[in-house]
Structures are given as structure tokens and as C-alpha cells.
């Protein structure tokens, strides 16, 4: 495990032989990997390689057919999505997935509230928890959506929805942060906003960050380590440069011969 020595202490998240099959089709095939606090791991691979599904298995949206997931050494394979979130696995979805008829503000507030574990509080007033509101505001500012605070989410443009996804993830303040193509469909001048956010979190060197991204320039600018999935299997894992150079990535993923690759900033 090449990147191993670069990393400190025990892994925060591990998957062991993690697999899932849909009917005859193995979407994730015995993926074993460790993820360490303070490192940002980018997961790349062709469409349908199993990246999102791998995320789903980690965050508990899908039940594993085989293998296990460990969080801080605890086996959480049997736990449900909600439980895992409460234990610190946060997730931003690839296909935007929000509360369309609630306000932008409420979307974030709900995340904060969940973090604060106030969900089952029946007798207090939601509005009486000013601290939650303040924190929600804070995260809205971070993604520059504060001015759309009280619009319905369904009225946001695609890009803004993507940003809200990120805001919600941040608001959950998880130990493990999983971004699934956060910048997809985001305009070129908005992309930096999100990337800078990820940079900041990364700079704290506390959180474990997993990032699925197809934009090579983004990958280069962020990755400490790159994992490559292909047909559900883990085919490469290590320092960005070397992994990007590897043949499998060149053909299966970038789909180009090495010499022409430099101008492929796509």
C-alpha cells in the first residue's frame, strides 16, 4: 500500500472484501481499502465502475452482499444509513437529492439538527434553538447561498442545488466526508467556491475525505491519493502521479495513448 507510510496512525475507515451484486451483475467486487484522517482520497474510474455504489455501501444506502465496513475499528456493516450518519459518515449525492419543497435554510437546518441529535425533541420549539439557526446560516454563507435562504429548493438552478448538497454535508460535520462529483454541472466560476471549501476542510488535516471526480484538473489539484475502480474492482491505489500514469487509467479511463494526454484537461 504505497500511500500508507505517508499516513498517520490508524485508518478511520476501512472496507474489507466489500462486494455487492445485482442479479448477475457484480457492481462492486471485493474492494479492500483503508482511509486515513487528514488525507483526501480521490476515486476515479469509468462510468459504471462502481464508485457511487461503493459510496452507497459505505454510507449504508445499499446492503453489502459480502465483506465488511469498519469505522474507527468498529464493524458497522450491519448498521443502517441513519445510524452510520450519526456515527460520522457524511455523504453528498451525485444526483442531487434534497427536500424540494422546503426552503434552502430548512434543508441545512435539518442537517444541523440531526447533528445536534434533537430530532426526537417534541416539546420545545424549533425556533427556540437559536444556535442551530446560527450554524445553518454559517454553512449557507460558506457556499454563498445565504441570499437564497428562504427560496424553495425546487426554484434553484442546478448549480445552486449542487452547492446546497455540499452545504448539507458540511453541516453534518462528519468525520468521514464523501463527495460524489460535487462540481458536476457547476459553472466554471462556481467550481472554485466548492473546491476552496474542500481545500479548507482538507487543510485542517482532521477529516477523512473521499471524492469521486471526473475532472482531471480538479483531481490533480486535490488528491493526496487516488484509487481506481474498474468493473467494480480496485485496480490501482497510490500517489496521484504514478496512478495517473498507469496504463489501466490511460486506456480504460482517460481513453488516450500516453503522449497525447497532456492537453486532456477534460
Amino acid at each position: 500500500m504505497m500511500a500508507g507510510e505517508a499516513m498517520s496512525a490508524a485508518p478511520s475507515l476501512c472496507t474489507r472484501e466489500l462486494s455487492i451484486r445485482f442479479g448477475g451483475h457484480v457492481a462492486v467486487n471485493q474492494v479492500t481499502a483503508d482511509f486515513y484522517p487528514g488525507t483526501l482520497t480521490v476515486i476515479v474510474g469509468p462510468n459504471g465502475a462502481g464508485k457511487t455504489t461503493y459510496f452507497n455501501l459505505i454510507s449504508g444506502q445499499l446492503p453489502a452482499s459480502a465483506g465488511s465496513v469498519h469505522l474507527f475499528g468498529v464493524d458497522i456493516t450491519a448498521k443502517g444509513a441513519a445510524e452510520r450518519t450519526r456515527r460520522g459518515i457524511g455523504r453528498a449525492f451525485q444526483l442531487t437529492n434534497l427536500f424540494p419543497n422546503l426552503s434552502v435554510m430548512e434543508n441545512v437546518r435539518l442537517a444541523v439538527q440531526s447533528r445536534a441529535g434533537l430530532g426526537l425533541n417534541i416539546f420545545s420549539l424549533w425556533s427556540s434553538h437559536a444556535s442551530l439557526l446560527k450554524r445553518a446560516e454559517h454553512y449557507l454563507d460558506k457556499v454563498a447561498l445565504a441570499d437564497r435562504r428562504s427560496d424553495k429548493v425546487s426554484a434553484l438552478s442546478h448549480g445552486d442545488k449542487r452547492k446546497l448538497e455540499v452545504a448539507i454535508l458540511l453541516a453534518l460535520e462528519p468525520e468521514i466526508m464523501m463527495f460524489d462529483e460535487p462540481t458536476a454541472g457547476m459553472s466554471v466560476d462556481e467550481v472554485p467556491v466548492v473546491l476552496d471549501l474542500i481545500h479548507q476542510v482538507k487543510a485542517e488535516r482532521k477529516k477523512t475525505i473521499l471524492l469521486v471526480e471526473h475532472k482531471m484538473d480538479v483531481v490533480r489539484s486535490l488528491a493526496d491519493r487516488i484509487i481506481v475502480l474498474h468493473n467494480g474492482a480496485l485496480v490501482a491505489d497510490g500517489e496521484p502521479v504514478s496512478v495517473m500514469a498507469s496504463a489501466i487509467v490511460q486506456e480504460a479511463y482517460l481513453g488516450v495513448a500516453p503522449e497525447t494526454r497532456e492537453e486532456q484537461h477534460v
Binding site: 445485482f22 451483475h25 476515479v44 474510474g45 469509468p46 462510468n47 459504471g48 465502475a49 464508485k51 457511487t52 455504489t53 451525485q94 444526483l95 426554484a155 434553484l156 438552478s157 442546478h158 448549480g159 445552486d160 462529483e181 458536476a184 454541472g185 457547476m186 459553472s187 466554471v188 466560476d189 462556481e190 467550481v191 472554485p192 473546491l195 471526473h214 475532472k215 482531471m216 484538473d217 480538479v218 490533480r220 489539484s221 480504460a252 479511463y253 482517460l254 481513453g255 488516450v256 486532456q264 484537461h265 477534460v266
Partner: protein, 241 residues
Amino acid sequence: MSDTILTLAGVHTHIGEYHILQGVDMQVPRGGLSVLLGRNGAGKTTTLRTIMGLWKASKGKIHFDGRDITAMATPDIAQLGIAYVPESMAIFSDLTVKENLLLAARNGPLDNSRVEWICGFFPALKKFWNYPAGNLSGGQKQMVAIARAIVEPRKLILVDEPTKGLAPAIILSLMAAFNELKASDTTILLVEQNFNFVRKLGDTVAVMDDGRVVHTGGMQALAEDNDLQQHLLGLSLAAHQ
């Protein structure tokens, strides 16, 4: 007839109480690939939806192939030979890939050779031919959405951010596909964020901001002129590389 296939003249669109498009003027030359750029919320998607008649223009005129389609119903517009790849992909998740394409082929059964041609670009479609499209991966859904638009020859294809979520390799084949379509004189109107992608494809370009077209011209010109890019798109390729 004229060599601009699609013309928008002072198009306004309201959604509920919001005034989204505030006078869009745009020409799409026949047989070329025109690109529509602009930051999030500029109104690109709304423009495409207005052309398709999915939002009704509250003011202004839209002409396609010399016909006024401003007030036409969506199906009729589609039947004039316009295909649409929406931002949300809008694939039918209950239906298999095959069935998705089958529906797109309005004039009867699928043309196998053309299906082959498409699957040449997107092999995944073949693999998941009889698979519920809802179970596909994000990128694969995107492929289905594009395939649906080109499964039969159309005069004009409106494509909303096709590259989002596509792996580089697939983006390359998408480029190839678009080039071949252009060759078979299909006009393409492409909404895109990924400048690196369109700079190689585009013939003409229009840039939107706040529901207006703020710049139109040749792609070449824009591609050369970094300051213009900077000024129009806040684009600085240096930023993250």
C-alpha cells in the same frame, strides 16, 4: 430557406412570479454546433426548455426552420424534428435501456445499424440493453439520455450539459459522436460548462448572464481571447490545475 435554423428574438420567460429570461436574442446557424455558455442560474436551461415549449415564452418570438413555434405544444415542436437532452437526463427508470430508445424512435422500430453506431460510442448501453435504466450509473444514464436524442435522425438537437458526470474517455467518444452528427448535417445547440470540451467542438458561441445573451460570436475568437473568457465566464484555467 435561410441558413439559420433557429432564431430567438427578444424572448421573455416567466416561471411563477420569477422573471427568468429577459429578452434572449440568438441565432443558430444550420448544420453547425452552437454553444450556449453562462454561469449557474444564467438561464441556459430555461432557454432550452422555452424552445421546447416546456416553459411558454411570455414575450418574443421563436422560429424554427422558418416556422413560428413560439406558441406550439411540445409534442408538435418535437415532431418538427427537434430532440432534447434535458439537464436532469429524465430517463425513464421503470423502462429498460432498450425500451427507452424504443420510445425515442418515434417512427416505428429501432434501426439496428444506427443502434450499433450509437453503441460504438457508448458500449455500456449494449451491456445494459435489457436492464432497468433506473439502475444505471449517473454517467450511464447520461449516455442513455444522449442516445435517445440521436437514435433517429433529427434536424436540431438541444443538449443540456451532456458531459457532466462523464468519464474523460466517454467525453472523447461524445466529441466524436457530435462531429459525425455535424457531418450528417444535424444542427446541435449545446449548453455546456466544460469550456475545454466545447472549445474544440463549437462553431459559434453565445454567452448568457441574468437571462440575457451578453455575447455572441465565433468559438475560435473566444477560444483565442483569454481576457474575453476571463471577462465573460470568470474563467481562469490556471486556478486549479
